[in-house]
């Protein structure tokens, strides 16, 4: 029996790497028919998906595995982001700055966990939403935390500005015969590779936790904390551990985000991002880490592609409105001929109502409409997500198969003359 395969699932990692990069190539190829320079879209898209994937994996550890409904994930992301940014500006190398960001985010998680993890699920959700908002407000109000801008007046709203280490270190273009690869492109590619590498390491880490008795205990707490406690599980301790580990991972995602996005301010971390992570986890599959990777890619593709194509949406909207205008006039004519309630019907004109919705709502909200609908559909028809949760895999399975073999041989001995022996 190959027990080692249960620990480090090498072949599955290869599968994920293959899926990740082949979808990158495929998407770039498909987009090349639509827009002139698809790499400008897919490179940031996959980087965002990777960074948010790390945060979503950490959220999955809380929500999907331990059952802690954390709606303030963005706070830990933000703490990691700011700490790493500040450490970088204090001239620490990134290999120290990012771990410091993780430690600070984890410690922040510990501080929050101590008073709140006794709370019931819904109260915990309310508290964590509040914490996310508090962190953002504090960072905006504190004047000392703007860097290196002039911070006397606007305070924290200016945020921090760091630099993209890949772009600032790779300055010369690469020339291969006739093809000239611009330095920014190489830098972005290297950044994407680094993000993917970290993402995969985090994936391995959460998979190891998931496929261990520790992960099993976390799942038992999610399922039934009373029963877990009656069997000797210290539920508070385990919940705190899961919360701290998950906060540190969110801090890691935040730290990479800081270096990737270069300039950031408190208003760049709206609560929407928390729900974004939730959408990733719910659509991908609650409690399934591979599902989360897929979900992150899917959700960011929708978000980012529609965000990039908004320039075209303006013309599209005016075209739709142009088509609908005659219909609207027709409706007005009909209702003006109806006595008594005609005026009332006129005010109910559904077509002008639609026009107003389309015109009032700016295109950047369209993905949110779409996510809302998608979320409802998923919760109704596929609440387990695209990749449903699977049982954890440890060597305990060997005991089952051994047992099955044993009982089978007993059966065979018992009816040795039987024709069904072949089973």
């Amino acid at each position: 029996m190959q027990t080692s395969r249960l620990y480090l699932k090498g072949h599955r990692i290869l599968l994920i790497i293959g899926g990740w990069f082949s979808s990158f190539i495929l998407l770039t190829f498909l987009l090349s028919f639509v827009i002139p320079n698809p790499l400008n879209l897919t490179l940031p898209l996959f980087s965002y998906a990777g960074i948010f994937g790390i945060a979503a994996l950490s959220l999955n550890l809380e929500v999907g595995v331990t059952g802690i409904s954390n709606f303030g994930k963005i706070a830990f992301f933000m703490v990691g982001c700011y700490t790493t940014g500040l450490m970088y500006l204090f001239k620490f190398p990134i290999f120290i700055a990012i771990p410091i960001g993780m430690v600070v985010a984890g410690f922040f998680g510990y501080l929050l966990a101590l008073p709140t993890l006794d709370l019931r699920e819904d109260y915990l959700a309310i508290t964590t939403i509040a914490v996310g908002e508090i962190v953002r407000t504090v960072l905006r109000a504190e004047t000392w935390i703007a860097w290196p801008q002039n911070r006397s007046e606007a305070g924290g709203t200016l945020g921090l500005t760091v630099e993209n280490i890949f772009r600032s270190n790779i300055t010369s273009d690469l020339v291969l015969g006739n093809i000239v690869l611009p330095s920014t492109l190489i830098a972005d590619f290297l950044f994407l590779f680094s993000i993917t590498a970290v993402f995969l390491l985090v994936y391995l880490f959460v998979e190891i936790i998931y496929n261990s008795p520790f992960g099993r205990v976390l799942k038992s707490i999610r399922d039934n904390d009373l029963a877990a406690e009656s069997l000797g599980v210290d539920i508070v301790e385990y919940r705190i551990k899961a919360f701290v580990v998950s906060s540190a991972l969110a801090g890691l995602a935040g730290g990479i985000w800081a270096l990737y996005i270069v300039g950031f301010s408190p208003d760049g971390f709206p609560p929407y991002y928390t729900f974004f992570l939730w959408i990733i986890v719910i659509i991908g599959g609650i409690g399934n880490n591979r599902g989360v990777i897929f979900g992150s890619l899917l959700v960011w593709s929708i978000e980012y592609i529609s965000r990039t194509l908004t320039g075209d949406i303006d013309t599209l909207v005016s075209r739709i409105v142009g088509i609908l205008n005659p219909l609207s006039d027709f409706y007005q004519q009909i209702s003006s001929h109806i006595p008594i309630i005609g005026d009332f019907l006129l005010s109910l004109n559904p077509i002008s109502f639609f026009q107003e919705i389309v015109v009032i709502n700016p295109p950047e909200y369209y993905p949110q409409f779409f996510f809302g609908i998608l979320l409802i559909l998923f919760l109704i028809y596929r609440p387990k997500g695209i990749f449903p949760e699977r049982p954890i895999q440890t060597v305990a399975e060997l005991a089952v198969s051994e047992h099955v073999n044993k009982t089978d041989s007993v059966i065979e001995e018992a009816d040795g003359n039987d024709d069904r022996v072949g089973r």
Binding site: E229, L231, V395
Partner: protein, 267 residues
């Protein structure tokens, strides 16, 4: 042979905003005994279990003592009690629905090194160096779990999610988990309700066998035949008070007990 008391309650009280659920209840469990606890519905049997395992706390003004192996355990957390060997099941079966039956059993394994996060992470590297890891204990525990499941006749369901089990099978699973903990005192709240008579007899045979090894059982059960046959000592609760205790035979002949059960009809 004098048997020492492993679990003892001294005058415990519980008042649910006016309803006196338990009134000065004192019970003593001696080592390696099977002790039955019977009484009509609402007489406070489950409340007594909840008080012992600190699921609910005693009245503040009239606190009695609960002793486990001679130590006062009034405010000890339930998980610490379980680690020390005082384990219970619940009347409303508590299972982990999304975990498999085998996983349900493995949660009950005590002092499993793999449940320690640090150990899990360190063992990744030990594994690469081909050194021993928590997987050895895991396999041992899993084999033990399979034996218990086999005995309870649900081993073929080991890989199924627990949510697919029927009511009776869930009872068996909860019982199996309690047996898995190898506790010193096991409190069973209606262990065989909804289990077929043949299997329930076998379960009590098993309990009897385990008792001889070292475990003490405290059992709430409505099935009088089973409880009278297998217990060494029976306590009868009625309206929150112990109205009788003694050997099964004494209880059966005690007129108070009959009154408690049939009293309401007679009036």
């Amino acid at each position: 042979m004098i048997k020492i008391a492993v679990l003892e309650t001294q005058n415990v009280n519980k008042n649910f905003s006016g309803l006196q659920a338990l009134k000065n209840v004192s019970v003593t469990l001696k080592k390696q005994q099977i002790i039955g606890l019977i009484g009509p519905n609402g007489s406070g049997k489950s409340t007594l279990f909840n008080l012992i395992t600190n699921v609910i706390s005693q009245d503040e003004e009239t606190t009695g003592n609960i002793l486990f192996e001679g130590k006062i355990i009034n405010d000890q957390k339930m998980h610490l009690l379980a680690r020390e060997g005082l384990v219970r099941t619940f009347q409303v079966t508590q299972i982990f629905p999304k975990l498999t039956v085998l996983e349900n059993m493995l949660i009950a394994s005590q002092f499993h090194p793999g449940e320690n996060l640090k150990k899990v992470l360190v063992d990744v590297f030990r594994k690469l160096l081909h050194k021993s890891t928590w997987e050895e204990e895991e396999l041992t525990f899993a084999k033990k779990a399979m034996e218990i499941l086999d005995f309870l006749e649900i081993s073929h369901l080991a890989k199924e999610k627990a949510e697919v089990l029927s009511g009776g099978q869930r009872k068996l699973l909860a019982l199996g988990r309690a047996l898995m903990t190898s506790g010193k005192v096991i409190l069973l709240d209606e262990p065989v309700a909804g289990v077929n008579p043949v299997l329930s007899n076998r379960i009590f045979e098993k309990i009897d066998q385990l008792r001889k090894e070292s475990t003490t059982f405290f059992i709430v059960e409505h099935n009088m035949d089973v409880i009278m046959e297998s217990s060494d000592h029976v306590f009868v609760l009625s309206k929150g008070e112990i109205i009788a205790d003694g050997s099964p035979k004494e209880i059966q002949e005690n007129p108070n007990v009959l009154d408690a059960y049939l009293g309401d009809e007679g009036e």
